[in-house]
């Protein structure tokens, strides 16, 4: 291993600009002559839209235009499209009502955009928005997830019972059979709490139109600029893709919420041509709370059938998933195909059946948020496995070990579609138990009891499917896009390299990791390599970054491109050294004639390719640049065990996370420092879900109650512990790098581990997330009362 090669803890290329205030985020971009947009949003969750009177607003100082749905309709602007078409269990397609970019006829959630004001300054735009008069006739709001199918009101006429889809997976008959012969059936019912992603950078967009060329440019806070270009160009604005450039510059975190195509980015792109000026919009945090797609929000029943010894026989799950008011880009995929196929977990459960009902409500759209379906699945599996262990009085580590898929069983096809490629589940469990000193837990518990504190321990042996996704599989289940990735390796004449990737880095450190990968493989100094991402004009194509796909899919595309560079380089080197191509070996940045000391460095070969004075021009084109597209053969399957240890103060209901052991298997790792950082951040978001965060809408009015950082409890430095992080390394067998992806694991594993620990401490079966001091205190008091009886 070199200091900058694969496996090295290389400091990040990105950091200098971020640490010196020189990052370029979308709101930092200001175009000449730029005007500012502000959106007037519905104060009601559900209402008929009457007359919109903007006369006064239009006359106010600095106002350039006020647009409503009528203006969009006149210009034939399309609605915001959904990128996934689910087939229901009855064979019919999901109900897919229109999603107008500005509300048409009705508003369907508090925050739904009604009008767009463009003015010289942001303050003028805001002042004018307040002067617009809108007639609303309020309608009853549908808010409750489980109650939506029985609600008296319909969010969309197309779905009178508010059901978007009913979907199932697995073998119902076989599962019923397993339950019929079970010695024990463990049951749980719970809510997977709704979350608001809260990337620290609010969404923003700047649109610019060049009259001379007819070209549009959109700067936007996106995880996938090509996807935005595709959706917005093809479905909303009918701009041919060669006339539309989408740039996602430095992006301040995404966590899924910046995957989706949002109306505002289409509207600034449309409006900039209408007003003849670049138009900028930046969300206030209050707008982010209201309008960024939220995550989770399931109501679930789960049952696990076992024999007397704790061998799993069957699993049955029923979930109702809230989709919000409109179908966001990947909304129908998240609670179905990204969720239920993970119900086998790390276990050999032979029969599984799951049903999911997706419902519309008068709330913000719900879509992928870090983990997207897999944290919800892990919560289902790991909470019910823990419950079974308690029902059967088995050690929680032991019941898991007993049911793990063994290393010799891979590839392993689960009863819910997936084929797991590799894994060493018991190894990770053993390592995690050692890290946290599981065997002495009882001593620590007894010691805590003396201090009046209840100590608990909780396991989460998670698995996830990431590295999305084989395009044929994605297409077969309903994705309206392929999920390959593109990469380019461009040598320059003097030997430096530009690496171009269709993935997007918004915190993951791709500029570092991909440079390490290329430096290691091609023997080019790390400092001579720069990575380009986030600009549709500079990148052939790309599907962006989500689903922990960047190294597994994007890195593999670069690996293929490097193969082509080496192949071409061998032919050039063979010519230069007057040897046969098959005798040329490439190693450590040099082409050698096997068995001799003759060699040409890759830099010399690159120079010859660009200054082809002595070059096989009859058979080879000049230049040294290769493009590759890589479509994965399967998902990758990171897995591992997290163990949380907590202390509960029964007097105050405070939960302190006193220790955390995480052992993850991401296959081969390029930069352990970055990977550990991803794990830390993921765990923090998972702890956030379990302890602190919960999106609340008022049941009756549909108003967002948790609409600011004063009301929505974000994890802060003093809420969180430090973590013990370790890994096992089982290379992925089907991609060229043996990598699996690490971005979501922490958020997937953590909530179940923590809730298992808290319920263990309190000696109770279940507690709702987030485990706020009030909930914990009530549970502790009830426990005290029981003990006194």
């Amino acid at each position: 291993m070199t200091e900058t090669g694969i496996g090295a803890r290389v400091k990040r290329k990105e950091d200098f600009r971020f640490l010196t205030g020189q990052g370029t985020y979308t709101d930092d971009i200001n175009r000449h002559g730029q005007a500012h947009a502000c959106f007037l949003r519905s104060p009601h969750a559900h209402a008929k839209l009457g007359a919109i009177n903007a006369a006064k607003a239009k006359a106010m100082p600095g106002v350039l235009a006020v647009f409503t749905h009528a203006d969009l309709a006149a210009d034939k602007v399309g609605g915001v499209p959904c990128g996934f078409g689910l087939t229901q269990k009855n064979g019919k397609p999901q109900i897919e009502p229109p999603h107008p970019a500005l509300a048409a006829g009705k508003v369907r959630y508090a925050g739904d955009a009604v009008a767009m004001v463009v003015a010289e300054t942001l303050a003028q735009a805001r002042d004018a928005a307040e002067a617009i008069e809108v007639g609303y006739s309020e309608l009853p709001a549908v808010v409750d997830t489980a109650g939506a199918p029985r609600a008296k009101s319909a969010v969309h006429d197309e779905a009178p019972n508010n059901v978007c889809f009913e979907w199932e997976i697995g073998d119902k008959a076989k599962t019923d059979e397993a339950f019929a012969k079970a010695a024990n059936v463990s049951k749980l019912e719970f809510v997977n709490n709704r979350l608001i992603p809260n990337a620290m950078e609010p969404r923003a967009a700047v649109g610019e139109y060049d009259r001379a060329t007819g070209n549009y440019t959109l700067y936007t806070t996106s995880q996938n600029p090509h996807v935005i270009r595709l959706l917005m160009g093809a479905f909303v604005l009918a701009i041919p893709e060669h006339r539309l450039r989408v740039v996602a510059p430095d992006v301040g975190g995404g966590f899924g919420s910046k995957i989706f195509h949002y109306a505002e980015e289409a509207l600034v792109t449309w409006a900039c041509r209408k007003v003849g000026r670049p138009v900028k919009w930046t969300a206030e945090r209050s707008e982010s709370f209201l309008t960024d797609a939220h995550g989770r929000d399931h109501v679930t029943k789960v049952e696990l059938a076992t024999d007397r010894e704790g061998n799993f026989l069957g699993l049955r799950v029923h979930s109702i998933a809230n989709l919000g008011a409109y179908l966001s880009t990947f909304a129908p995929m998240v609670p179905t195909w990204l969720y239920a196929p993970l119900f086998a977990g790390q276990y050999r459960t032979p029969a599984i059946h799951a049903e999911v009902i997706g419902v519309f409500t008068n709330t913000s759209p719900v879509d992928a948020y870090r983990g997207a379906g897999r944290p919800e699945a892990t919560y289902v599996v790991e909470r019910i496995v823990e419950t079974a262990a308690r029902d059967l009085k088995l050690d929680p580590a032991e019941i898991r070990r007993k049911n793990f898929i063994a290393p010799a069983q891979f590839p392993y096809t689960t009863p819910v579609v997936l084929q797991y490629d590799s894994g060493q589940y018991a190894l990770a469990m053993d390592k995690a138990c050692q890290l946290i000193d599981y065997k002495n837990f009882a001593k620590r518990k007894a010691e805590a009891e003396k201090r009046g504190r209840l100590r608990g321990i909780g396991f989460s042996a998670y698995i996830e499917a990431c590295g999305v996704a084989p395009s044929a599989v994605a297409g077969a289940i309903g994705a309206r896009a392929g999920l390959y990735e593109a990469g380019v390796i461009r040598f320059h004449p003097t030997g430096s390299v530009t690496v171009i990737t269709g993935t997007h880095s918004h915190g993951q450190g791709h500029e570092t990791t991909f440079a390490q990968l290329v430096s290691d493989r091609l023997g080019v100094p790390y400092d001579s390599i720069d990575v380009v991402h986030g600009d549709t004009d500079r990148i052939p194509f790309g599907m962006g970054t989500y689903g922990s796909r960047s190294i597994a899919v994007g890195g593999s595309a670069l690996s293929k491109a490097m193969d082509k560079i080496v192949d071409k380089g061998k032919r050039i080197a063979a010519h230069l050294m007057e040897a046969a191509v098959q005798d040329i070996e490439f190693k450590n940045g040099a082409f050698r004639v096997a068995g001799t000391d003759k060699q040409k460095t890759i830099q010399e070969v690159a120079f010859a390719a660009y200054v082809p004075h002595n070059y096989p021009l009859n058979e080879l084109e000049p230049g040294l640049e290769e493009t590759a597209y890589y479509d994965p053969a399967n998902f990758t399957y990171p897995a591992g065990t997290h163990i949380a240890e907590v202390e509960v103060d029964p007097q105050t209901g405070q939960v302190e996370v006193v220790d955390w052991a995480a052992v993850d298997d991401f296959g081969n790792v390029i930069n352990p420092m970055i990977v550990e950082g991803q794990v830390h951040g993921g765990i923090a978001q998972g702890i956030g879900q379990a302890l602190l965060e919960g999106c609340v809408y008022d049941d009756r009015s549909g108003q967002l109650v948790t609409g600011s950082y004063m009301d929505y409890c974000m994890p802060r430095a003093d809420n969180l512990p430090s973590y013990r992080v370790d890994m096992t390394h089982t290379p992925c067998p089907h991609n060229p790098l043996g990598v699996k992806g690490c971005g979501e694991a922490g958020a997937i594993a953590a909530p179940a581990a923590l809730m298992n620990a808290i319920t263990n401490a309190l000696g109770i079966k279940d507690l709702a997330m987030p485990a706020t001091p009030e909930r914990v205190w009530r549970a502790a008091q009830a426990r005290g009362a029981r003990a006194a009886e």
Partner: protein, 156 residues
């Protein structure tokens, strides 16, 4: 409209601004110092923390006019004139204490201020002192390590 004058990163600046202009808007829009970020509208996130007359201040809580005559240091003014990073900036880089970088300017400015008041802080003190700065990426683990490294470096 009032004219406000102050010293920002060692340079005297004066601009005529609308009365309601916040310090953070003045820095970002009028001076083009976009390193100071805006992450919320309730003074909760800390992305806009700058140094005003020796104190860490959320630049969204002050009107530009209130800082008339002040000495303001932003993230752009933290490194030495020769470009050498401040020990806190270096420690953040060394410990991978930033990911997306958005909260980083405010976090670094708060951390520098923290060490002025607690030159040798333990983990709990660091966590308590930084509770006014939200980071969604790092889980704070490496930020704590970075502040500890910077404390050692600055004690030398």
């Amino acid at each position: 409209m009032p004219t406000v004058s102050m010293t920002v990163n060692g340079k005297s600046v004066g601009k005529t601004v609308e009365d309601r202009t916040l310090l953070v808007q003045f820095l970002r829009q009028d001076l083009g110092l976009t390193g100071t970020h805006v992450g919320c509208d309730t003074s909760q996130c800390g992305a806009c923390v700058v140094d005003v007359n020796g104190h860490a201040v959320k630049a969204c809580t002050l009107l530009a006019a209130q800082t008339e005559g002040a000495r303001v240091t932003t993230i752009e003014g933290l490194a030495a004139a020769d470009g050498a990073l401040h020990p806190m900036q270096q420690a953040f880089m060394d410990n991978h204490a930033l990911q997306c970088g958005f909260c980083t300017p405010g976090m670094v400015m708060s951390a520098v201020d923290l060490l002025k008041r607690h030159p040798n802080p333990d983990e709990q003190t660091i966590r308590r002192e930084l509770e006014g700065n939200l980071c969604r990426c790092t889980g704070y683990h490496n930020i704590v390590k970075a502040v500890q490294q910077a404390a050692k470096a600055m004690a030398r």
